[in-house]
């Protein structure tokens, strides 16, 4: 379980989060939704210690980030986007690297097969398309076998088949008891896979239970432009 207690963060004078608290349970998939530039990526980076938080803010499965950083990091996996892959290394290099650094026992060949990546397993990252790189990223999450997965816009650049494939993987991971926080702009997809959705608004998180409602409608009411709101109230 990931517990966040009293999280505040700002870039200089630009306040992104103001005293936010929440937790994510084992086997729970939480969607993270907000317009561009609100703070989704910033939140994910805060949760894995890439940006500074107060000493007592973050606890993952009972481990405090500031007390046992290595143990904390071993419980989670986060790689912001495919630009962070090593261009000159192969897919195989990345997967064996993650497997060994996270002390995981996951069978790499199985993951590669299940994601249909056998065709480019031996290729260098710089020769892959965006969608292929998204597959590599997801494969790294799977191979890490970390308990908590923080995923930033995994559906970017995916074709409809791959989107459905990724959604199946997310649901399977949920079955395995992983805690997941996945940011996305695809509201339909968010509606299909998440148990709860965190909407970022006014430097805080508005959690909404997923009861099968139309997430796009929720989104629209949440982020109505000031002008539109005014028009409606007239």
């Amino acid at each position: 379980m990931l517990s966040v207690n009293d999280l505040s963060f700002s870039f200089k004078k630009n306040v992104i989060f103001d005293q936010v608290s929440f937790s994510i349970n084992d086997g729970e998939l939480v969607g993270l939704v907000a317009p561009n530039g609100t703070g989704k990526t910033t939140l994910l980076k805060l949760l894995c210690g890439l940006l500074p938080t107060a000493a007592t803010t973050l606890t993952l499965n009972g481990i405090h980030l500031y007390q046992h950083r290595t143990a904390y990091l071993r419980q989670l996996f986060f790689l912001e986007n495919s630009n962070q892959l090593y261009a000159d290394l192969t897919v195989a290099d990345h997967l064996t690297y993650v497997r060994s650094m996270w002390h995981s026992a996951v069978d790499i060949a199985g993951v590669v097969d299940s994601l249909g990546m056998a065709g480019y397993y031996r290729k260098k990252i710089k020769t892959l398309s965006l969608g292929m790189k998204q597959h590599v990223l997801l494969a790294m999450y799977l191979v890490s076998d970390a308990q908590t997965l923080l995923i930033d816009e995994p559906l970017n650049g995916l074709d409809p088949t791959s989107i459905q494939q990724f959604e199946r993987v997310f649901l399977a991971l949920k079955q395995q008891g992983k805690s997941m926080l996945i940011s996305s702009h695809q509201m339909d997809s968010v509606g299909r896979v998440s148990d709860r959705v965190f909407f970022l608004q006014n430097q805080t998180i508005v959690p909404i239970e997923n009861t099968g409602q139309d997430m796009l409608a929720v989104y629209n009411t949440m982020y109505l432009k000031a002008g539109e709101q005014h028009a409606r109230s007239v």
Binding site: A71, L73, Q84, A87, L89, T96
Partner: protein, 389 residues
Amino acid sequence: MRALFKVTFKRDVQSTTNIVIFAALVILLLGTFFSQTGQANTTRGDLYNVYVTTDDGITNEVIALRKVKHRTAAQTARLNQKLTEKTYADQIIAAASASPAAADQLNRALLHYAQYALRQTQKDPRTPLQLIAYTDQPLDRSLLGRVKDVAFYRYLLDHHIQEIPTAAVHAPAINYLAGAFLYHVSPFLIIAVLLVGLAEFFTMDKRLGTIDFANTLPISKSKVLLIQGLLTCLLMFVLFLLAAVAVFLLVGSQNGWGTWTYPLVYSLDGLHARIMPLAQLMGMLVLSIFSLLVFFTAIGGLISLFVRTTGTHFLWASALLLTGLPSVLGPATRLMPWLPVGYFDYAAVILHRTNWPTLGFGGGVGLLLGWSLLVFGGTGVLLHRRQLL
């Protein structure tokens, strides 16, 4: 750890930086070689001219003294001395013009003259001797200079080695490399090139934006930095060795190889002369470069925590390097031998030609490695506190 090592190694080895560093080192070291291409090999002739100039100098003085009608006792003594010098110089010229060249004969003649000069200088240090003035070499009129000459020519004679002057054209590979490192290419230039490589590798992740991946690895960040440092240092060292070997092979294939036992003469105490064969010199050079690399790697790791670009990294590291320039080094203090800056000019340290106090060659290597540990330890403490690279 092994996986991290493997991945870092694979990334570093594939970097084009390696080719740039290798090429820069080779070009620096080949400067003299290129400037001499197409030039005739005039080494022997030049040396002969140097002897003749010496002989002429003596002859002129003899003629001038003979013209004096009523010589004082001092002038008579001076004339006698010059006549003795002339017999030695004539022997040298006779040996040098022998064909085929007879190395032993020439060395013996040079040794005899050096021994004579030493005896005269020991009797009276102000004796105005006509010394052999080699091109590109400062004329040392001190007693130590005479002691060194004797040691040098005795060694050449004992080992049957033909003299190869500093200014030799188309010097054989071994002498060429030694000359490049000691006289022609400043140690500061060589180190600066290596600093470019260090700056490039230490800022690679920040520049490419891949640093976050390293920062989320479930492993202590000191280990990540240590592995990056070890590999970078090793890579630069290998590039240096490869560059030296490439230059050696290229020069050797054109000019011949030379001999590893060729002597360099130096003094530890300012009184006695010691001989260092070029093989030993090369070993010491390699060890110097290695310890300097380790030191600057430790410094580079520390700098990498504070800067994001290759340019600023290089600027900071080279600013430190420049403090080791003899002209920048402050007045010698009692602390001086304990500071790394006194050891950047490895050529001066190896030949004991520093104007500042040092712990000597071995002490210097130990000191640089000790400081490296200290700097790395400090970086480790810092990393432990901030937890991010």
